[in-house]
């Protein structure tokens, strides 16, 4: 187990290294110099040069890359070009919206998908199954930002149960959670549809296994066999998908934040892009990629811990 963990840790480090190089290169070759952008078209060349020096843009690119990565390793994400504040502080503020939103959405998606998948699998081919499968077809076809707009239309404008957007802050947790509810539902729906399908097909595969027949032969009812032996075994592929979905939730959150005017990482990234605040763009994207890679790494480790057969494979 330790050897497996070390091996995965090495490949994790390599992934992160490559990711950081790719992000740095993509952002660096972007047209437009931040210093001349900030000073406008009438700026004198020496003013621009002075600002470039102040922002640390005059050092060689390779050195800047090392500084950036080295800083991130100790939690220093650099200083924002436009706001002149610590990027880490800006990210931390926004993270308090984006992260709870993603987790909230993941919870909703799981709460919908598990029962739906189990019902569909245990009533395979019957109306309940056909209904669930039809709903999932629709669920994967609906763009989450459009679903968000429909939710706003119904629950904020027509029924006035929720506000149409904005975030009141965490001073009153109940209000904060309420403000995140519609965004989380919008974010969760397509993921719930995918998860329900995976849950269903995984359970159907497992229910055809010999050990389920054995369980039935020793006198367990279909329901008992499903709950005691089927479900636990069906969870492996479901966990993989939940791990993968985290990345979709993070990316989806960026767009959903636009719909609900939530000041999260998504809005930060768009602001930074329009202001050519490259250091913020780089750091936020790196952080998102880091989160996704770490989550997938943990899912892999969790499997290996549960199922020894998987350790032998890679």
């Amino acid at each position: 187990m330790l050897r497996y963990a070390l091996k995965r840790l090495t490949s994790l480090a390599v992934s992160l290294l490559i990711a950081s190089v790719v992000i740095f290169v993509v952002v660096e070759i972007a047209p437009g110099d931040p210093a001349s952008f900030m000073l406008g078209i009438n700026a004198q060349p020496d003013t621009i040069a002075a600002l470039r020096a102040e922002l640390g843009l005059d050092v060689p690119k390779f050195q800047r890359y090392l500084d950036w990565v080295g800083g991130m390793l100790v939690g220093d994400f650099g200083t924002s070009y436009t706001y002149r504040t610590e990027v880490s502080g800006m990210i931390a503020d926004r993270l308090w919206i984006s992260l709870p939103l993603a987790i909230y959405a993941l919870m909703i998606s799981t709460l919908i998908a598990f029962p739906a998948g189990i019902i569909a699998a245990s009533r395979r081919g019957r109306p309940a199954d056909i209904g669930v499968m039809g709903a999932t077809q629709l669920g994967v076809a609906i763009p989450n930002f459009w679903f968000a707009m429909l939710l706003v239309l119904l629950f904020a404008i027509k029924l006035r149960w929720f506000s149409a957007g904005g975030f009141p802050g965490w001073e009153s947790p109940a209000e904060a959670i309420k403000a995140l509810t519609l965004p989380a539902i919008a974010l969760a729906l397509p993921q719930a549809a995918i998860l329900a399908r995976v849950m269903r097909s995984s359970l159907i595969d497992i229910l055809g296994e010999d050990f389920i027949r054995t369980a039935r032969a020793k006198g367990l009812s279909r329901r008992q066999a499903l709950w005691r032996h089927g479900l636990r075994n069906a969870l492996i592929p479901v966990l993989t998908i939940i791990g993968l979905q985290f990345s979709f939730l993070i990316a989806g959150a960026i767009i959903i934040e636009q719909v609900f005017f939530l000041p999260g990482l998504g809005r930060l990234i768009f602001q930074a892009i329009t202001q050519r605040d490259l250091i913020v763009v780089e750091s936020v994207v790196m952080l998102l990629v880091f989160a996704v890679i770490i989550v997938n790494f943990m899912v892999d480790l969790a499997y290996a811990a549960v199922d020894p057969r998987l350790r032998a494979r890679t």
Binding site: S15, V27, L138, P143, W146, M149, L150, I250, A251
Partner: protein, 271 residues
């Protein structure tokens, strides 16, 4: 022919037809503004109503379908054009350096949140249809490479491949002449799925303003424009969304139907 295939084909065909027709004729002019007749609900004159500039929404949907289909189709083309040869090569020289690199790259790209990177690419290189195509297309490459490699590997151990090798054919030639025809069905089915994901991705990018730029109509942009007018004229927000849903639903059904029709055993990648 099964019902899924027919329904999916009809839905997809409807949008493709609308897109093609829009080159020759649309019910209204998508460039002409008519402020007096803005935000009108569906009527006999304007079958799907008018938007905030008084443009005919049906015409906008038809021209928008062009954008969506073009972006998604070229993105699938990029994915297949690069991914399939890479996958075939990786399987042909299994365990070689190319196979190793491709497998590593695939793992890495799957770890990236694709939409985040697409946003980064379009934001850095400028918003527009071409950059949206590239951003979406890049993520199609590993999907096809991985799928092709897996499917091709299962054929390399078969007798007819052995026969071809005994006959003196090289690995590259076998890949093209014997492996590729056998994985085509799988590629077609995966292609429709990636196509539908491309439509969704394009809608998302143009919704946040990073897709096709005005005055080119696109469904995502129509939704972004409609957002502030949801309370005044819900149809402006509902109709473009429905277009996306029906198109994506149609393609997904088409993909499922094709799979069942061509070979029910096919395993495709769905995320």
């Amino acid at each position: 022919m099964n019902r899924t295939l027919i329904l999916g084909g009809m839905l997809t065909g409807l949008f493709v037809l609308g897109a093609v027709l829009s080159f020759f004729w649309t019910p209204g002019d998508v460039q002409a503004m008519n402020i007096a007749g803005r935000l009108k609900p569906p009527s006999a004159d304007h079958f799907l109503g008018t938007d905030h500039f008084g443009r005919d929404i049906l015409s906008m949907i038809m021209v928008g379908a062009r954008t969506s289909i073009a972006v998604a189709l070229v993105a699938v083309g990029i994915g297949m054009g690069l991914g399939v040869p890479l996958g075939l090569a990786a399987a042909a020289w299994r365990g070689g350096w190319l196979d190793e690199i491709i497998s590593r790259m695939n793992d890495l790209i799957f770890a990236f949140p694709s939409l985040v990177i697409a946003i980064l690419i379009t934001a850095v290189f400028g918003a527009g249809a071409i950059n949206a195509i590239i951003a979406i297309g890049i993520f199609n490459i590993p999907v096809f490479a991985r799928l092709t490699r897996g499917a091709a590997l299962s054929y390399w151990s078969r007798e007819f491949i052995l026969a071809a090798r005994v006959a003196g054919k090289g690995r590259a030639r076998i890949s093209v002449e014997h492996i590729l025809p056998n994985v085509t069905n799988l590629l077609i089915v995966q292609g429709t799925i990636q196509f539908s994901l491309g439509i969704l991705a394009e809608a998302g990018l143009s919704y946040v303003g990073l897709g096709a730029q005005p005055p080119i109509p696109s469904w995502g942009r129509m939704l972004a424009d409609a957002q502030t007018m949801v309370a005044l004229a819900p149809h402006v927000a509902i109709i473009p969304g429905l277009a996306i849903v029906l198109m994506v639903l149609g393609l997904n059904l088409l993909g499922d139907g094709l799979r069942d029709h061509l070979d029910p055993r096919l395993r495709v990648i769905r995320t």
